[in-house]
Amino acid sequence: MDFQRVARLSDLPDPGRTVVEIDDRLVVLLRVAGEVFAIDDVCTHDGGPLGEGELEDHTIACPRHGAKFDIRTGAALTMPATRPTQAHDVKVEGDDIWVRVRD
């Protein structure tokens, strides 16, 4: 899978997040402290929409039950989630955000 251009950096505040569609999947782009990260818009606890959650430093909390994930790695940090959500590769070139989806 190749990198795909999915959004413009100037459209994404810091800190901020947006949900984009890439190859029939929903991915949250997150911008924190000058860096951009991409994880699946899926809480591994019950499939909740992570992208609507509260962002704090490098963690995002699922709006349904509060499970926290590391936006850099997708790692599940707190209950009730026990499994990581998928993280994807990101690169920024100029104003373009590129993502390579990992399966």
């Binding site: 029939d24 999947r25 019950d46």
Partner: protein, 432 residues
């Protein structure tokens, strides 16, 4: 690949043109208009609603589809699975909501069987008490879209006391990115008996089925109904299905769910007369990124009724199954015997099954039981089988077959057991 069906979009102009081209009883036109108004007002369901929490349809784009147009030549319906070796009373086939084959040699006199659109033009008064009286045409945006724009579909109407030995068969096909808005209406009058086999099939293009099934089992009537959802991997499937069973009526309803990209189905049974009996069987097998979501309701509205639901699902790859079941017992529905069970066998770690059984009981002399299990293939069973000389792969197949046997034992139609067994056997991956 270019889209081969001419889609006009679900616009008010397209709907007006669709209505103008039809010659239907006034009551039906009015029903369609009311549903269209509801459709225009309603939003697509959101994940904030309990029923849609686990089913993400943000990737579904309604505006990519439209009212079924003229199907271009060259498209053919995929083959049926359930009719192997079966002597049928009659059969219908459709492709992208358009009629595509019909025969009725074995249909006894007095029984109405055929294209619902044509039947409603001829027998409007007979069908009016049933059509869109069983399912709610405005339950959600999909239900409203279906009620406004349905076309094609099938009617099986068995009059009082008539027993039809041979099964009816109906096949709905989707090809070339088409849309299927077909409606099924099955009515058995008092003491009638029938067997109906319905199935779907399709190619892997993005396509839409937005449908409804309405079933009336009259007093003392007996219906065996099989509904196999076997769309291709690109199909979005939204359906409201509901049966009403009257006094001492018996319904055996078997659902097979193998296909589709995403399915959201409401399967409801209402036991409205004393002594009504219903058995619901579900066989699900999912793979790839399929997401199938089934919402069942066993609604006991009368006394001395029995309902027995067993759904069994096996999942592989990244697929997901959701089952949310409810037994609802109204005040006065005493001596209810209600049972619901859902078992899931998870073949790969990345698959996911959600089982949510529920009871809502307002009578005080009932037996209601529910249960759900989810588990992986047991390593000890694999070990045992391998000690006996089987490969791991053979062992997994045997365990999957054994898992489904319990529900196959309940399905009384041999061709259905065989078709489901073979279809599942073909899908199981090599787990070496």
């Amino acid at each position: 690949m270019t889209e081969m069906t001419l889609a006009s979009g679900f616009t008010s102009d397209a709907f007006a043109a669709f209505l103008a081209a039809r010659q239907e009883p006034l009551w039906l036109t009015e029903l369609r208009r009311a549903a269209w108004e509801a459709f225009e007002k309603m939003e697509l369901p959101s994940r904030r609603e309990e029923e849609w929490m686990r089913t993400d349809i943000r990737l579904f784009k309604l505006d990519r589809f439209g009212l079924p147009g003229e199907t271009l030549p060259g498209l053919t319906a995929p083959p049926a699975l359930l009719t192997e070796g079966v002597d049928l009373a009659g059969r219908t086939a459709s492709l992208n909501s358009r009629p595509g084959g019909f025969s009725s040699e074995g249909v006894p006199p007095g029984v109405l069987f055929g294209n619902l659109e044509e039947m409603v033009a001829e027998h409007g008064d007979l069908l009016r008490p049933h059509l869109f009286q069983i399912v709610n045409p405005q339950a959600d945006k999909f239900a409203a879209l279906h009620a406004a724009c349905w076309s094609g579909g099938v009617l099986v109407y068995v009059p009082r006391g008539v027993r039809v030995e041979k099964p009816f068969h109906m096949l709905s096909g989707l090809a070339g990115g088409g849309v299927d808005l077909s409606h099924a209406l099955i009515v058995l009058e008092e003491g009638a008996e029938a067997t109906v086999l319905a199935e779907t099939a399709g190619d892997d293009q993005p396509s839409l089925h937005c449908g409804a099934i309405e079933i009336v089992v009259g007093a003392g009537a007996k219906l065996r109904y099989v509904n196999l959802q076997n769309w291709g991997s690109g199909t979005w499937h939204f359906a409201h299905q509901r049966a009403v069973v009257e006094r001492d009526g018996a319904l055996q309803w078997t659902i097979g769910a193998l296909g589709g990209r995403l399915a959201k189905v409401n399967q409801h049974v209402a036991l409205v007369g004393d002594g009504a009996d219903t058995q619901v069987n579900g066989v699900m097998f999912t793979e790839g990124k399929q997401h199938l979501s089934y919402h069942t309701l066993q609604h006991h509205q009368a006394a001395h009724c029995r309902s027995d639901l067993l759904y069994k699902g096996a999942l592989q790859d990244h697929s997901q199954l959701v089952w949310r079941g409810m037994i609802k017992v109204d005040p006065g529905a005493q001596k209810t015997n209600g049972y619901q069970r859902n078992d899931n066998l998870i073949l790969t770690e990345t698959a996911r099954a959600d089982s949510i059984p529920g009871l809502e009981i307002e009578a005080d002399d009932v037996i209601c039981t529910h249960g759900a299990t989810a588990g992986r293939v047991d390593d000890q069973q694999i070990f045992y089988a391998r000690c006996r000389g089987l490969t791991r792969n053979e062992a997994v197949r045997m365990i999957v077959a054994g898992f489904f046997q319990q529900v196959f034992d309940r399905i009384t139609i041999e061709s259905v057991r065989e078709a489901l067994g073979h279809a599942i056997g073909r899908r199981i991956r090599e787990y070496d």
